[in-house]
């Protein structure tokens, strides 16, 4: 039987690279997460992970240049929600960020790398793909647990 949810659904949001648009991005992924069937806790996790990914792009990949654009693509089926945050800025390998203990970060007055730590904790799978000089993609997957 082919119900409407058996088909993959695709969503796309493109915003200027300015942190004032993070609220728009959060509203977008929250709506997609709810439509995909995530529970309230997982929708909150998705919202935070995508916010962190986009804030990283705006601040680090694009260096606060609001003439650039951040692209968020979302796809879901019955089992999985797949989010891709795409940019054409400076590439960045999240695997290169060491995971220091919170106390060590505080002692060294550093808070860098917190966003990526959150993303890894909040999503089921995280993968980074980049083509130097062309584009960077952060892929984040969330399994959908249906009651």
């Amino acid at each position: 039987m082919a119900g409407p949810l058996c088909h993959e659904r695709r969503f796309l949001l493109t915003v200027p690279s300015s942190t004032e648009n993070l609220v728009l991005i959060r509203e977008f992924v929250t709506a997609v997460g709810q439509q995909a069937g995530l529970d309230e806790v997982d929708v909150g996790r998705l919202e935070l992970a995508v916010d962190e990914a986009c804030a990283n792009v705006m601040e680090h990949a694009y260096g606060h240049d609001d003439t650039k654009e951040v692209v968020v693509r979302a796809t879901f089926d019955l089992e999985m929600l797949h989010i891709v945050v795409e940019d054409t800025g400076l590439g960045f390998d999240p695997g290169s960020v060491p995971e220091e203990r919170l106390e060590c970060l505080i002692a060294s007055r550093k808070s860098g790398g917190l966003g990526m730590r959150l993303i890894k904790s909040l999503m089921d799978e995280v993968r980074y793909e980049f083509v130097p000089g062309q584009k960077n993609e952060l892929h984040m997957l969330k399994r959908i647990h249906r009651a």
Partner: protein
Amino acid sequence: MSSPFKIESSIRDNLSVVALEGHVDAHTAPRFEEVVVAELAAGRRQIVVDCTRMTYISSAGLGVFMSYVEEIREQGGDLKICGAIPKVQATFEILGFPEVFDILPDLEAAVRRFRDVPVREN
């Protein structure tokens, strides 16, 4: 747009209370940081961040707590947190904030905690 950001500071029982409202993200966290810096510049070292009306926080906001707590403690004060809703509390817990910060259920409890343990030692 949902949940606009607001921040207010006040004095309660000789403590500085910084109340956050709405979303604290990479866009609004700099205003939170400005207020913390202003409190320190005014010589106030006992600060409660009241999160009762804060509905969301990302790493940019968490970074403000982390950037100043050590300096405040070195000067005999503390930065304590109160009133976090479950969603915000969950974010604090992912990063291990309860191991570093005093996180109290409400402002009354934070005031009492300051009286009992002015500076938390980790």
